[in-house]
């Protein structure tokens, strides 16, 4: 069964086409990641799916409920973890969960049980009576996620939930997502961290400039770039002059550069590297660092867009 069906979704802000006719399906029980740089349209997409924005056109179905026609039923299936922490800092964690649980329609013993379950899940049971305002950023993130889990939703939207937190909290969150998924929850996850998308996702859609430029499993996406290696080379001069020279080296598929750092896709790094060094030496350019990576999603993005995810 399809948990989420999105068809030809479009959204324009003033003169900016934030989402340009994207379509995708998510099967129930999957973790689906929208991967792309800032400004790719991920948050706009998730905001439309959360009913916070009205699309200019297109349709969305959540658990079979049309988002436009059966909004309330669709929302009841949905838990949303916003990108920014959206909690009441002058309330305790327990009070926050109690309030949000009521907003999701939970009452009485069921609400109490769910609060307890969630507090244990996010690892804050022992500090539940402290005001959220006194929590660290990571703890707030965990409560932020906990709120979305109170009503045990069938679908969970997570909009870059690990931005700006410590490694320990990030690991806790990623493990929690896997656990929830194992329990049958469908997760739509947006991130610009390639590693997170690789670790979590059953399906990945790569977004850029409001479009989905590639979609599939991790293996399927990597096939796009074949077995190419990704090389990150740092030089002691501006990248623009040597980038054109390196572009012409046989075996170099794509190249991009920023501030003396160049990203290259090459069929075989062992074959191209000597030639790159040779050109650099002739042009009096010193190579200061080299990093060689096996094919990954970053390479896919570079291959498809000509730029790195972090650009």
């Amino acid at each position: 069964m399809k948990a989420i069906e999105v068809k030809n979704l479009k959204k324009t802000f003033d003169n900016t086409q934030a989402v340009q006719g994207i379509s995708f399906d998510i099967t129930q029980g999957q973790i689906f990641s929208l991967l792309g740089p800032n400004g790719a349209g991920k948050t706009t997409t998730i905001s439309i799916l959360s009913t916070l924005l009205k699309p200019d056109s297109g349709s969305v179905t959540l658990m079979g409920y049309d988002l436009k026609q059966e909004t309330s039923k669709a929302k009841a299936c949905l838990g949303v973890v916003p990108q920014d922490i959206a909690l009441y800092e002058d309330l305790t964690a327990a009070e926050n969960l109690n309030f949000w649980g009521k907003m999701y329609g939970l009452r009485g013993n069921l609400l109490k049980k769910r609060i307890q379950v969630v507090l244990e899940m996010i690892g804050l049971d022992d500090r539940k009576n402290e005001r959220v305002g006194k929590y660290s950023g990571g703890m707030k993130r965990r409560v932020n996620i906990g709120v979305a889990l109170l009503h045990n939703p069938k679908i969970l939207f997570m909009d870059e939930p690990t931005v700006g937190i410590d490694p320990q909290s990030r690991r806790h969150i990623l493990d929690s997502i896997k656990l929830l998924n194992q329990q049958g929850m469908t997760v739509l996850y947006t991130t610009h961290y390639m590693e997170e998308a690789q670790e979590l996702s059953d399906q990945i859609a790569i977004m850029d400039k409001g479009r989905i430029i590639a979609m599939g499993t991790q293996a399927e996406l990597i096939k796009i770039v074949g077995q190419s290696d990704r090389l990150t080379i740092e030089i002691d001069k501006d990248h623009s002059q040597i980038m054109d020279l390196w572009q012409s080296v046989p075996g170099v598929q794509k190249i991009s550069g920023v501030n003396g750092s160049l990203d290259l896709l090459a069929e075989d790094s062992n074959q191209v590297l000597p030639r790159l060094f040779e050109i650099a030496a002739v042009n009096n350019t010193r190579i200061t660092a080299i990093n060689i990576q096996e094919p990954n999603l970053e390479a896919v993005f570079l291959h498809l867009t000509g730029k790195a995810l972090r650009d």
């Binding site: 959360s50 009913t51 916070l52 309330s72 039923k73 929302k75 009841a76 949905l78 949303v80 916003p82 920014d84 922490i85 959206a86 909690l87 009441y88 002058d90 309330l91 009070e95 309030f99 949000w100 009521k102 907003m103 999701y104 329609g105 709120v147």
Partner: protein
């Protein structure tokens, strides 16, 4: 149900804000308290403790046969002389807490005691007081003796004594005049009989003026302070009720900026329910503030706000427009960064206009009073003043209705603007 969940959440947040608590309760009470201290009053203790005055009464009045058959109407004891009558009128069971009366027969030694400070005052009734009183054309003197330093202390007693004597004198003059006009052949005996009859009818139970004299200064000062405190407290309460309405309504903007409002919109709770809950939380916050201030100021400053029904009407006339005003002014700004200057300006200007009567010490002209009614605060104050001045309930209806009309105008403009922005 969800509406009240939102209300309770907002109330919890509001009452955990020290800043808001200080402005809601602290400052109105503090300002009023400062005025109390400035004017040296303690309105919680309106009964003044008066030190007991030590009186030596030297009643040498031998009386007159005409007084023998007269009885004190209250005690049933015989009134044997004019001195006896004055004594019974001046010193009663009720005034015993103020006067410690010691009867003596030697006026000289009484004066010595006053000089030595063992007594505060000595009063002397001469032996022929009754006799001379019943003889037309005769005069006599009652002496009261005290030192200069006790002048203030015995002022009340002297006034009371003078009042009694003055009234008795007036009665005698009245009888003398009446007899002279009606019968030139009236014999002396009938004159005496008439004077004594008239004097004996002097009510020894008429003691209210004694209390008035004793408490002549202090209660007046106390009521003066109260008459100032009530409008000041009322003005502070209304000013800060409107401040609270504006500040708590600002929580809608704060929630929009912090993302919690957006998050609420992702829950299966309608936008109307959420905004209604937010509006009601503003109303309840102001309601609690005004109710608490009314009760606390009543007990703290002894302010009588009026009958319970009148106070209820006044509370409605304050709370509803304050909440509506708060919601309205929040629709005029895009975000909380803009709100400081705009709210400050609006609240100050409308507050000053509305409270013109208070700021001018109640001496504002009719024009100024009318100007104050150009803003909702003016009508709230007007209703509260009517409640305090014990006007009829009907008198409060018009200002209440106008206050509610102001509220309707604010709601009619404000709610659609918020709804347009968030729904």
């Amino acid at each position: 149900m969800k509406i009240f969940d939102i209300v309770i959440k907002d109330l919890t947040s509001s009452f955990r804000s020290l800043f808001l608590l200080i402005f809601m309760f602290g400052i109105p009470l503090l300002v009023t308290g400062m005025f109390t201290l400035m004017f040296g009053g303690n309105p919680t203790e309106p009964e003044i403790t008066v030190p007991q005055i030590r009186v030596i009464l030297v009643n040498m009045d031998m009386g007159d046969p005409n007084f023998q058959n007269r009885m004190d109407q209250q005690s049933g004891l015989p009134i044997t002389s004019l001195g006896n009558l004055i004594e019974k009128t001046l010193f009663t069971e009720e005034t015993a807490q103020y006067y410690n009366v010691d009867n003596k027969s030697d006026y000289a030694s009484a004066q010595t005691e006053v000089n030595n400070g063992t007594a505060d005052v000595a009063i002397y009734f001469p032996s022929d007081l009754s006799t001379t009183f019943t003889m037309p054309g005769e005069n006599n003197v009652i002496e009261i003796y005290y030192t200069a330093e006790n002048a203030g202390k015995v002022y009340g007693l002297q006034s009371a004594l003078s009042s009694i004597v003055d009234e008795l004198s007036i009665r005698r003059i009245a009888v003398d005049t009446a007899l002279a006009d009606t019968s030139e052949v009236a014999d002396q005996n009938s004159t005496v009989q008439n004077i004594v009859q008239e004097v004996s009818s002097f009510p020894t139970t008429k003691r209210d003026f004694l209390v008035d004299v004793r408490t002549l200064d202090e209660p007046q000062q106390s009521s003066l302070i109260l008459s100032m405190l009530a409008p000041i407290m009322g003005g502070m309460m209304i000013f800060f009720a409107f401040f609270t309405g504006t500040t708590t309504a600002q929580s809608i903007l704060r929630e929009a900026e912090s993302g919690t409002l957006s998050r609420l919109f992702t829950t299966p709770t309608s936008h109307r329910t959420i905004l209604t809950g937010k509006f009601l939380s503003v109303l309840f916050t102001v309601l609690i503030q005004v109710s608490v201030l009314i009760v606390v100021s009543h007990y703290l400053f002894n302010i009588n706000w009026g009958t319970p029904l009148h106070v209820l009407i006044a509370i409605i006339a304050i709370v509803v427009p304050a909440a509506a005003f708060g919601i309205f002014v929040n629709t005029l700004v895009k975000n909380t960064k803009q709100s400081g200057a705009i709210f400050g300006g609006l609240l100050t200007v409308t507050g000053m206009i509305g409270m013109m009567e208070i700021f001018t010490g109640g001496n504002s002209s009719a024009t100024l009073s009318k100007v104050s009614l150009l803003v909702p605060q003016g009508w709230s104050i007007h209703t509260l003043n009517l409640s305090m001045s014990a006007e009829t309930t009907t008198a409060l209806v018009l200002p209440l209705v106008i206050s509610l009309l102001w509220s309707i105008v604010f709601f009619v403009i404000g709610i659609p603007r918020f709804s347009k922005r968030f729904i």
